[in-house]
Amino acid sequence: MMDIGGGREVSSSGRYEIRIAGFGGQGVITVGKILGTAFSVFEGKNSVNTQSYGPESRGGACRSEVVVSDGKINYPYVRKADVFVALSQLAFDAYIAELKEGGILLVDPNSVRDISERDHYEVYEVPTALIAHETGNAKYQNAVALGALYPLIKDYLKESSLREAMDENVPPETREANMAAFAKGIQYIKDHYHK
């Protein structure tokens, strides 16, 4: 697996930064938790997962981030994101400026309609809400997004790590549906972007 930062205590360079944003109820926070668990529990890397939220448990802006490094992580939040997953226009507008040049941008095109300076990033458009709806429940939008994200960051972690982390962080009765939605996300990227 890709070594990040060479295990030294580094400042901003030796970090791999992922940000997921949307609105309350889309499962944004769970995705961050799963990624953090995957990196730290199953890949043995150091990672910090943080979240920011408004008082609204539904509908309000919501953001979850994971900073990964083989070394020590001091500043816990994203400084310049390597990967940005945007599940709503509001979230996209709020954080696109902090995605680094050439960074990976994964959006749901049905809610993020206008992407300014598209050529600055590696853009992937996945209708996560629609796909989740097709698997039977919009609630699994975040699992679809996680599945779509995996092939784009597979240099940094194994699919098994993500699956095991999902196993630990979703209610047991939803495990099967989550795994199905996750697989659909991977498939979509394979079919549309050959990754």
Binding site: S11, S40, V41, V48, T50, Q51, P55, Y75, P76, Y77
Partner: protein, 389 residues
């Protein structure tokens, strides 16, 4: 055979927990077996974790009707021999001040975690360091306090254990002044084998061969031994000015001055044992950043970058304990610097004891205030570069 409390402790190893959860696990590891709490963002997860875990280790959890009653539970529990804790956030912390004052005067070991959020009033629900003065001066009356400032999920675990140890060792309430940043953050947490974790228990009169008849609940030593209810020591807990035996009549000013001074000196006089600071790049530095809590994670990154990119001779000092304030230690290690930067998530609070301590050790103190969110490295760096042009 280990009783329920040992059997269900977290096995040694690496976990990926939220700061709030690590805090509750730290309390359990330290021997906390009574938890009382009340819902408040951003501290509720500590209570929720305690509600789940305490019965598993033979402890008892209760959700009380408010913060005043939650804190009051700790007095009764501690007097009845248990290690007890509650966690709240800034508005609830204000409500608990009377109990803290009471715990200081009755020398009652207990732990209160304050996951700070912005104020005043409802303020907001994100991160803050705006309660650090209330921690020291919020309770009515004299007396001192011990307050720790965790900056990571590991420290939310370690410092909660340390808080109980300090409370039991010095017979005093101890505050864990956490911040929403570390409370809601998830990071790897290493839990060492149980026998490698130091757990301190209060000294009891029985341990010192003091019989109930000879026992002075507020006597015998700078830190009096503590008798638990139910063990036949007929101890009266009183917080009116009292003699060593707890007698509150025969008021006289000398007893008043002596007893309250002892209670204060018990903490302030032992700052060297209690207080801790961390320093980096201090040798021959020209300038210095002093910080605490989660801000220290931004500050250390800014210091490294300022040194690497512009070769600025900048050192880093972190207050691990806020109170008792380590003035003597600061004056020993900071001899002669030009500018001292003090980034805080408030409008300038710890800068006051820092200014007093380094009055003749630096040319100027430059606060870097912000509210409601962690400083970004750029915020601190731009101030440093601007001031040191």
């Amino acid at each position: 055979m280990a009783g329920p409390s040992e059997k269900n402790l977290l096995k040694p190893g690496v976990y990926y927990l939220q700061g709030n959860q690590a805090c509750a696990e730290g309390a359990i590891t330290a021997g906390c077996r009574v938890y009382a709490g009340y819902p408040i963002t951003p501290a509720s997860e500590i209570m929720e974790h305690a509600a789940l875990r305490l019965p598993q280790v033979g402890g008892r959890f209760i959700q009380m009707e408010d913060e005043i009653s939650s804190a009051s539970v700790l007095l009764g529990a501690s007097w009845a021999g248990a290690k007890a804790m509650t966690a709240t956030s800034s508005p609830g912390f204000s409500l608990m001040q009377e109990v803290i004052s009471f715990a200081i005067m009755t020398e009652t070991p207990l732990v209160i975690v304050d996951v700070q959020r912005p104020g005043p009033g409802q303020g907001y629900i994100t991160t803050s360091q705006e309660d650090v003065m209330q921690a020291r001066w919020g309770h009515h009356g004299e007396g001192s306090i011990i307050a720790l400032s965790p900056a990571s999920v590991q420290e939310m675990f370690d410092f909660t254990i340390e808080a109980f140890n300090l409370a039991e060792q010095w017979r005093t309430p101890v505050l864990v002044m956490a911040e929403e940043t570390v409370a809601h953050m998830r990071e790897p947490l290493t839990i060492p084998p149980q026998d490698q974790i130091k757990v301190v228990n209060r000294k009891k009169p029985q341990d010192l061969g003091i019989s109930p008849e000879e026992f002075l609940p507020y006597g015998h030593a700078m830190v009096p031994p503590m008798a638990n209810w139910g063990e036949g020591y007929n101890v009266n807990h009183v917080s009116l000015v009292h003699h060593e035996d707890g007698n509150v009549t025969k008021y006289n000013r000398d007893i008043h001055l002596d007893s309250v001074s002892r209670i204060q000196q018990k903490i302030e006089g032992n700052t060297d044992h209690i207080a801790r600071v961390e320093t980096r790049f201090l040798e021959g530095c020209r300038h210095l950043v002093i910080c605490y809590g989660s801000v220290s994670r931004t500050a250390v990154e800014a210091v490294m970058e300022a040194r690497q990119e512009r070769g600025i001779d900048l050192a880093f000092l972190r207050l691990v304990t806020l109170w008792p304030f380590p003035e003597k230690k600061l004056r020993e290690i900071v001899r002669d610097v030009d500018t001292v930067f003090v980034p805080e998530m408030n409008l300038g609070m710890m800068k006051h004891p820092i200014t007093e301590a380094l009055r003749d050790r630096c040319n100027r103190i430059v606060p870097i205030p912000t509210l409601g969110a962690l400083h970004s490295p750029e915020m601190i760096l731009s101030k440093i570069y601007e001031e040191l042009k």
